[in-house]
């Protein structure tokens, strides 16, 4: 294979057999492995789709408008990420700081939405009619309907298990991404992220965009095609 020199830092030159930076090659290999990770979790969800014996079922619990907003937030964060990379590449330190922080904040907002959604799913209720003899407080007080706990947790049914495993791991990946981005932001604030280190931002960006495309697939396959 051809030998080539890849500049690492000023004055250092690293030999690689591909002419490509080790770190960039490795991040793509990592993302390939992440395809397997999320692909198998999604496959498991799809195998168990419509096979739950008890509810809640997807169509009873999903709030598509709210999830659409969180999807939009994550897509916007990808834009902020590319703008951060463009800024660091042209030596715009201020722009890099602003957009790195914006990406992290948008990621945190997405996590907020996910937390809210998980909480709502867990505490979901359904309205049930009062039948004669039913020992429920509202019915005994004379009401015709009562709210029955009908929450979704990983233990409720197969849908709950596969859904929370898939989206939970995605949320964990977003969390790691936010920590990564905030670390880069702090480095930038301390003047430790010069233009020549733009690869560090590029690598974080590749991870972040991957997390975004996983959500693109989850949103369509799980939420929109879920019922």
């Amino acid at each position: 294979m051809k030998e080539a020199s890849v500049p690492v830092h000023s004055g250092e030159v690293m030999e690689t057999s591909t002419g490509l930076d080790h770190r960039k090659l490795l991040i793509w290999m990592f993302l390939a492995s992440e395809c397997f990770f999320f692909g198998t979790l999604l496959a498991t969800y799809l195998v168990y789709r419509n096979k739950s014996l008890v509810g809640p079922f997807p169509e009873e619990i999903f709030d598509i408008p709210v999830t659409s907003v969180s999807t939009f937030v994550l897509l916007t964060s990808s834009l902020a990420m590319v703008l951060a990379l463009a800024a660091i590449r042209r030596g715009d330190q201020r722009g890099a700081k602003v957009w790195l922080f914006a990406t992290a904040i948008l990621g945190l907002t997405f996590l907020g939405f996910q937390g809210f959604e998980f909480y709502e799913f867990g505490n979901h209720e359904r309205v049930m009619p009062c039948t004669p003899g039913l020992q429920v407080e509202e019915c005994l007080m004379g009401a015709t309907e009562y709210p029955e706990p009908y929450g979704l947790t990983p233990r409720t049914n197969v849908f709950g298990s596969t859904f929370f495993t898939l989206t939970g791991f995605h949320g964990a990946h977003v969390t790691v991404g936010v920590i990564w981005l905030l670390s880069l932001w702090i480095m930038a604030l301390r003047g430790e992220l010069p233009q020549r280190e733009n690869l560090k931002v590029e690598l974080a960006g590749l991870y972040w965009h991957f997390v975004d495309i996983v959500w693109i697939v989850i949103f369509t396959v799980v939420y929109l095609l879920g019922g």
Partner: protein
């Protein structure tokens, strides 16, 4: 010869220092030939006719002097020929030289800022379209292929432009595409096995 820029330089020259920084910023692989310390490099430089420094030798083609645009063009055409790049990148107005902080990140293959924003707008519109289509009950069984096509479009846009795969080495695409193909095949096989394919 390796697939790099052979960079003839004099360490005392500010122009050569700027040239080296530029190569590093651009991520252009280079072999530094220090004429002050390397007698063999001096011999080769003399054979080339001792052109004005810095000198960039890209596969036999010489760029003499610090001209960022000519260097970019020479590197890009070489990289395209060798397959390190798959697309000719859009080139903006040339850099005039000067201090490193004035260097504009042109000729780094990829979309311009306004194009990133345009892609984001497309991603938003497609998402709105998907959600709108979701509420159309009349579509019936056509819903799945339509939604899968739209999300595939978003997937390809993010991977090609935001993740830069359209402009980068084919090796990255190979890893990613191979992994995707294998896992999709696995998913379909699993679903068929458990009678989950509709």
């Amino acid at each position: 010869m390796a697939d790099v820029v052979y960079f003839y330089m004099d360490p005392a020259s500010p122009q050569c220092y700027r040239a080296k920084q530029y190569l590093i910023e651009k991520g252009i692989p280079f072999m530094e030939l220090n004429l002050a310390e390397d007698p063999a490099a001096r011999e080769t430089y003399k054979e080339l006719g001792s052109p004005p420094l810095p000198v960039f030798d890209i596969d036999g083609k010489l760029v003499s002097g610090l001209n960022y645009q000519r260097l970019d063009e020479a590197w890009v055409s070489f990289a395209l020929e060798k397959g390190y790049l798959r697309e000719a990148p859009p080139l903006d107005e040339p850099v005039s030289g000067g201090e490193l902080s004035d260097v504009i990140a042109l000729a780094h293959p990829g979309p311009a800022t306004i194009e990133y924003v345009a892609i984001a707008a497309v991603l938003t519109m497609v998402t709105l379209l998907e959600v709108g289509i979701f509420y159309l009950e009349s579509l019936g069984s056509a819903l799945m292929p339509i939604l899968l096509s739209l999300s595939s479009l978003k997937f390809v846009l993010v991977v090609s432009f935001y993740m830069h795969l359209k402009y980068d080495s084919r090796l990255f695409l190979s890893f990613f595409a191979a992994a995707l193909l294998i896992v999709v095949a696995l998913a379909v096989a699993g679903m068929a096995l458990f009678r989950a394919l509709v």
